[in-house]
């Protein structure tokens, strides 16, 4: 029977089994479950959001149904938490044992494979079927936290070079501005551009699943592999569906994580048939426009510089009651 692992002795045993399987024990998870046989943990697994991890089965008991039982329990717990698809990262050689459990392979690099249970990617693509137009299309993936004149410039430039530009707004929460507000700013800031179609990334690009380090501070060594999977998934599954031939990206002088994501783009996408066009950022006097610059100014309570950094639609949102509630600490207290 699968049981939650809570006591410190459970955790110690779980850690031993996980590390004996060559995996790292991580303290971030929502559920940690295991199976006991004669007082000893023989199988273990954890769920962090949509990601199943630290799945391990005692060496002498592999090949039975223990892994199935652990995964069943984790998927059930996740479903109760409101999720309907789940991901697992594994060595490419292990992918088939998850495919036998009805996981679908989303992307595979030399070192790591990403699989999904629950058919979410197919449902995501089917949901957006009606906005697919064949042609020489392009894509921009952006967080727009908040939507700036820099985004506006990138999108205008990109849209002028393709038949249709799909603008994927990062769905994941974890940024200062919530998704709905970011989407709203983007919608208002691009509604005069007829060739632009707005979409959300769901969890299939720049998400806590495909690219968790984007939402953390610089310097996670595991980030590079996952970045590659994020791009392989884009080139292999998303771009073909939307007839995307070019991905546009702004040059990145500030963030190390984003800069290495851009480098990875140049390396991974073109061999798979997606050209990468990097456009220079436009500069306000003194510095290139970036959303992080806007956030820095807001954090200092400065709003006088906004006109030079964001379009009027974003500015009026940022200065509205609703906008202030997000960034202005005084407003929360009031």
């Amino acid at each position: 029977m699968v049981t939650p692992l809570l006591s410190s002795d459970d955790l110690r045993q779980a850690r031993d089994l996980i590390e004996a399987s060559g995996l790292a024990f991580e303290t971030r998870y929502h559920d940690l479950v295991g199976i006991f046989q004669s007082g000893r943990i023989v199988a273990v697994g954890a769920r962090e959001g949509r990601v199943l991890k630290m799945l391990a089965v005692a060496k002498d008991l592999q090949g039975g149904t223990l892994l199935d039982e652990v995964v069943t329990a984790l998927v059930g717990l996740g479903f109760q938490a409101g999720l309907d698809s789940f991901f697992v990262f594994t060595a490419p050689g292990q992918a088939t044992s998850f495919e036998a459990l009805n996981f679908n392979l989303l992307a595979s690099s030399g070192k790591s494979a990403l699989l999904e249970y629950g058919d979410g990617l197919r449902r995501y693509l089917a949901r957006h079927q009606k906005v697919v137009t064949p042609g020489d299309n392009g894509a921009v993936v952006a967080n727009c936290n908040p939507f700036t004149l820099g985004h506006r410039y990138l999108i205008e430039q990109a849209a002028s070079r393709v038949e249709r530009l799909y603008l994927f707004v990062v769905r994941e929460e974890g940024s200062l501005f919530p998704f709905e507000q970011r989407l709203q700013m983007v919608r208002e800031g691009t509604c005069d551009l007829p060739r632009v179609t707005l979409l959300d990334t769901s969890c299939y690009a720049v998400s806590s699943v495909t690219f968790p380090t984007y939402f953390l501070k610089d310097g996670d060594p595991g980030g590079a592999i996952q970045m590659e999977l994020d791009l392989l998934l884009f080139a292999g599954r998303i771009a073909p569906h939307f007839h995307i031939k070019t991905r546009f990206v702004g040059s990145e002088p500030l963030s190390r994580t984003t800069a290495s994501y851009n480098q990875a783009m140049h390396r991974v996408l073109p061999p798979l048939g997606v050209a990468v066009t990097e456009l220079e950022r436009i500069g306000a006097p003194g510095a290139a426009i970036s959303a992080s610059l806007v956030r820095e100014q807001l954090a200092r309570g400065e709003t006088s510089g906004l006109t030079a950094l964001v379009p009027e639609s974003s500015r009026s949102f940022l200065l509205s009651r609703e906008g202030r509630r997000i960034w202005d600490k005084k407003e929360v207290a009031a």
């Binding site: 149904t65 199935d68 039982e69 069943t72 109760q80 459990l101 249970y117 058919d119």
Partner: protein, 87 residues
Amino acid sequence: MRIAKKAQAGTMQSSDLMVFLEPAGTLTVTIESTVLKQFGALIRARVDLVLARHGIEAGEVRITDRGALDYAIEARLETALLRAQED
């Protein structure tokens, strides 16, 4: 009977299936199976039969199957339907 809330039944073990139900405006049934090529149509027919017997006309029905036999499909789907009823 109608699907009033999210519900799940079954396991991921071999010869079993997982059933996920969610309320929705229209009826959609999706089936993933390790034996879809050989038995997809038969699984679908059995699922449709159970849904019809319980008068289910709307909802999202997702099934992932690992070669379950007919009676297992019926039992898991009926269990999920009962769990999807209003409290």
